[in-house]
Amino acid sequence: MNDTAELVKNKMSGGERRKRTSRGQGWEEAGAEFYQESYPADVDLEVWQRDPAHIATLLPSKQSRAATSKRVRGEVKPTLRRRTSTRSRYSSTARRTSTAHDVHMAMLPDLSENLSNEERTWEEIMQIKAMPVSMMQKKEMKAKLQTATKLRLQGFEQLKWQRRKVWQQMKSRWKETYSKLELWRHSLKKIEGNFGTGVVAYFLFIKWLMFLNLFIFLFILLFIILPTLVLVPQESPANTTLVEECSRNYFNLSVDSSFLDWVQGTGNMERTIMFYGYYTHKLISEDGNMHSYYNLPLAYIAIAVIYLLGSLAVMVKSAAQGFKERLVEGEGQFYQYCNLVFGGWDFCIHNEKSASMKHKALYNEMKACLEAERLEEERQNRSRDEMLKLMIMRCIINLIVLMVLSGALALIYYTFYFSQERLNKELLNPNTELEYLYKFILEFLPSIIIVCLNLLVPNMFAYLVSFERYSPLFIVRITLLRTVLLRLASLIMLMFSLKDIIICDEPDSCSCEDHPKCWETYVGQQVYKLVILDFVTHVLITFTFNWPRMLIAKYSKSKVAKFIGEQEFELPKHVLDVVYSQTLCWLGSFYAPVLPLLAMLECCLLFHIKKFACLVNSRPSSTVYRASRSNSLFMVVLLISFIVAVLPVAFAIAEIPPSKSCGPFRGHLTTWSVVVESFDQLPAWIKSIMFFFGTAGFAVPIFVVLVLCLYYFYAVSAANKQMVMVLKNQLVLEGHDKQFLLNRLSAFIKQQHEHQKVMRQVEMTNLDLSNAS
């Protein structure tokens, strides 16, 4: 078959030449010559009569694919002549145009003086990898290339080429060492083997967050903590302002410390670098003389802005990649079924159990897709009554959800007030053990309530959503949305209830009655408590609640036990856990600079805890999680949480007056005023430039230019879409044409064959007759 194909190809090129000259004759005659020459009548005609579609395999588009693997065996040299596309030579577009080129190649004289130089030979060798042939053939090709005569490069070109080789080698060696150093590589491979790449994306996300927190903490360490520890504040003048007095009172306050201070951040821990209150509001320098000084307040706020903007930039970059892929997919259409079938199997799985689960998952997903389609059709065909009933049901459920959310928020608010009241009035001096315990519980009560709500309410949402009869994909999204709302709303509520305690403006005394002297540290402590409690909850739930469940399911045979015990590794819930802890970190970092370090350690431990939950407690999920979809989901949720976390901090910086007793901003009107004052100290020309950026003369033209750019890109994309539609239709038409021509051709060949048979029979009878007579 292969030889025939080669023969046919050569003949076809010759036939084309012939066809051009014989255009004057009728179609039938030229066609007959053409086909007679190209299709040896006897041998292949039977084949075609058996299967007329066989002709399709002789088409140029098929020939070029078969020829690629054969061509490289035979003639490597002629292909070197193509200088234009050395890099993409073996890509599919080259394949399609190669037939025309081969025809030319066959017709041109053999210019074997066209030698290549060393560099190009080296490039050729590097590209042998991409060819779909066996290793033996690749080795032959490489040997042939290496022994072929080639020019040596001279001088500067030689240098450039050597450098390129060395650079390539360095790159591959660097990649090798980097992959060795990758953190937790072994664990990730194990998870991948058992659960697939979707779940691994989640663990990579945790690792990414850990590194983000590490960088934030390094920033804070370098620019805020180290200068505070190393350098000395400026000596204060003798006159005592209110600020100085309050500060002295605050810092000399003696508090009894207990072991619980570690968890709460109170007592001795309060006036350390862990919290905002410790940092001085004066300029600091090496020896107190102000020759060269370091402006700590400005640094404090500048670093906060920098790391928040940096986190935002990194997240947007990550999300944009996923978004770009989504857009590319959505440009034509989203290939749901194709991706499922062709990209569905995870080739990293090496475990029988996971493989069978994967089979089941794929089966479920296929059924789900088909089911979704059926539901869509059903949805289109819903009668008006049904629609009305469904709408009412959905409204009711949404109302219930809103009520539940508001109830939860109100509960948090009142709990907070209740605990504050009790703490301030009754338990200022706890005496007995019981009172200590009571005080401890009250301190943690708001956090405990939040954690309980986060555990219970999502289950309720999952139960309610089944009444709304949405499509499965939408169910997942809306449940996720509601849970995210719950978590973020509870945080906002906490901040809100704190606001009443914080805002209080009494110009004459250090702070208001019953209000904390240093409210920023107080806020920092609350967030610190929340972080610790969150982490402890994770540990407790994984080890003391889910692990026994798994053990029960494993070792007992009853159905009830299986129902309680079997859990799946549900990705959205775990994603929310991680995102929540990161939100707390961002929220509290301004008031407790040590929080990123804690968050980093927490991420590290969370990785191992979640790994335990994944590998030991749960069995593989029955839904197919795709890595790319998961990544964009994580980033979007993280972005939303980031915005929610930054808003209260931004509000506090801009509006709330800093406390007079502590912190780098004591004495100023608002925290932001430090920046404004430093800005006023800049030279005049910088100030005028900055002011210019704010004026209308600059903003309006820029705005107009941006709108024009946007419109231009939109127009280009619309035109491209139109082009794609046109080309697609053209392709379909060409396909139909091809089918038509092939059918016509096979009918014609059959007709020819019949005709020849008849002719031969007539000849035979004539011969017989002449022999007989």
Partner: protein, 178 residues
């Protein structure tokens, strides 16, 4: 690493490194894995040809529904028995270093059960059947699914997917990094 290295000359290792997407260490590692499948046979001849049954004992291939197809595609004698070089080729294409185009090319060959260079209805049917494992889709579902796939991917409407159409889908799919 010592014993493995003594089986290959420097030149051979350099060849392998140039012709696959692996570094020298990875090539030796792959040889270790290959040897683990049949220690005595490979010990005698480092490029020994192992029968398909032995190759399919490799963990990832054993549970892979397309394991036998993979062996057939990469086997130089086209009957499923692989030498070490074929095995190395196989691992190289599946590694992270191989570009999407190379993977698409080989994936097309793997999915093309009847070898006619097109993914026709029978090919798709076999692919889906193998993917669902123990469970089987009903005939109606199967036809519906195949029809959906062809609707999405078959651009010239000829009832089968050519390589160009397949590659077009793969280039748009971001999940294809195996």
């Amino acid at each position: 690493m010592g014993q493995g290295k003594s089986q290959f000359t420097e030149e051979e290792l350099q060849d392998y490194q140039d012709l696959t997407y692996f570094t020298k260490k990875e090539v030796l590692y792959a040889h270790q894995k290959f040897k683990a499948l049949a220690p005595e046979k490979v010990g005698h001849n480092k490029n020994a040809k192992l029968p398909m049954a032995k190759i399919l004992q490799y963990p990832e291939l054993r549970v892979n529904p397309f394991g036998d197809r993979i062996c057939c595609i990469f086997s130089s004698s086209h009957d499923g028995d692989c030498t070490f070089e074929d095995f190395l080729d196989m691992m190289s294409v599946f590694s992270d270093g191989a570009p999407k185009a190379v993977k698409a090319e080989h994936a097309f060959r793997i999915f093309d059960f009847d070898g006619d260079d097109m993914l026709g209805v029978t090919d798709l049917r076999q692919v889906i059947d193998r993917l669902t494992g123990q469970q089987h889709l009903s005939e109606q579902d199967m036809q519906h699914l195949i029809q959906n796939i062809l609707d999405e991917a078959d651009l010239d409407d000829d009832g089968a997917l050519s390589f160009a159409e397949f590659e077009h889908i793969i280039s748009k799919s971001s999940d294809f990094a195996k």
